[in-house]
Symmetry: C2
Subunit: 226 residues, 2 copies
DNA sequence: ACGTGATTTGGCCGGAAGACCAAGAGGCCG
DNA sequence: CGGCCTCTTGGTCTTCCGGCCAAATCACGT
């Protein structure tokens, strides 16, 4: 909840400093474009309209910028999805809205979520655990939504919800690697399309085996496993 | 003067130099672990059991190693999937087998496919186009398989096949970010589970709206678009 | 206006990166 | 044996990175 990880003076929490804001914005854009390691602190500083020394005053190291950016990504994602799902009380519908909000943030929002997802390797050993925990909170948030939707009884009963989350998040997160704003599809359209794929599947109703539910049941207990 | 990879002629097949092999293997492992930019040529050389100068003799620049590795990734992927789908003539079943082969290569094979997918940003401007074309060949390969499966009439008739490919590849490729060999699930199990999700969807058969096919139809023509 | 702490400046430093090469080792064949 | 081509060695050269700092500047309460 508190602000980033400032080492020196007590940064006033709550309202983010506009200079910090500019730094994270510039860093996000550059990290997304070229990756963390290929970006220099000088570039970040220039992108934020300041000199390298000034950046150092805010963040003691480049790693600190990355960590702050990722924490921001988690915070933004949780916030965006939370706000989006408030529009309905139906747990299944909430999944659809949450998916849409997540993808819109990923494609149109700032770059913090993208960096969180695609530059995890760049995290220094020491900071990994903290970010991992934050990220875990976001995943648990989704698991909760999935569990509630599952509780309605409208989904298949035999589902490994963690696998379902990885499946859906994978499909959605991958969009960031190919999405182009001028290609005629909005993130919302893509998200809704993917939602429909997820919910109903790609095989024609007529061409399905008789006992689909049994198929899913079998997936939960692979042959020869516990 | 070695031939590195080069799209046109050159070495026909299989006769890759063992030293080149060791370089690409070491580079792949390091690029996957820390990313391209964070890996030094000295580390690659050491990983391959040679001195930096020797590496330079094979590949004039670090970029060249990346390009060669990515081309290798495409080649391996096409090869693995091609071999896998030969086991059946049913286009729908082929998708399942292809998905499994792709994920097994990504999780258990060498790291070239992973690097191809997750270090695309690191490609130097000049080499991007070539690798993009190779990668496009692999995507077109999948599009062909999808089209044939669609042609059987067993899938929903209203599908944007490119979007379907991005959907499925996204879900599968993302596995590489969380898969751990000792977590109890094999890549084949994961792929087959995802295949079932893809084919039949997650909503219970009983809880579906009456006209699902119409829903898909509507996705192809978003409101307000031509 | 003035002092004080917060912030910015512009440059410096040690080190490591990628690229490169002249000289040598190795092996193959005439 | 001796020439010749392939490949390796061990190091250098230049560039630029991340981190750092002392001094200058600013903002603002009193």
């Amino acid at each position: 909840m508190t602000n980033t990880q400032s080492s020196a003076g007590g940064t006033p929490e709550g309202a983010a400093d506009p200079s910090d804001e500019r730094i994270l914005l510039a860093a996000g854009r550059l990290f997304r474009e070229k990756g963390f390691a290929a970006t220099t602190v000088r570039e970040i500083a220039q992108g934020a309209g300041m000199l390298p020394g000034s950046l150092h005053y805010r963040y003691a190291s480049k790693d600190d910028v990355l960590v702050a950016l990722m924490e921001r990504g988690v915070k933004r994602a949780i916030s965006a999805v939370t706000k989006a799902i408030a529009a309905t009380r139906d747990p299944v519908e909430r999944l659809k809205l949450g998916l849409r909000a997540h993808l819109e943030l990923l494609c149109q929002g700032d770059d913090s979520l993208y960096v969180l997802l695609y530059d995890f390797r760049s995290l220094p050993e020491g900071a990994r655990e903290g970010v991992e925990r934050s990220r875990g909170r976001y995943e648990a948030f989704w698991d909760g939504m999935l569990y509630e939707a599952w509780g309605t009884g409208r989904s298949r009963s035999a589902l490994d919800l963690e696998l379902v989350r990885q499946f859906g998040m994978g499909a959605i997160n991958w969009v960031a690697t190919w999405y182009r704003p001028d290609a005629g599809r909005t993130p919302a359209q893509i998200a809704d399309t993917f939602w429909t794929y997820l919910a109903f599947g790609l095989m024609a109703e007529a061409a399905r085996p008789s006992d689909v539910e049994g198929l899913f049941q079998k997936l939960l207990t692979p042959p020869g496993e516990k």
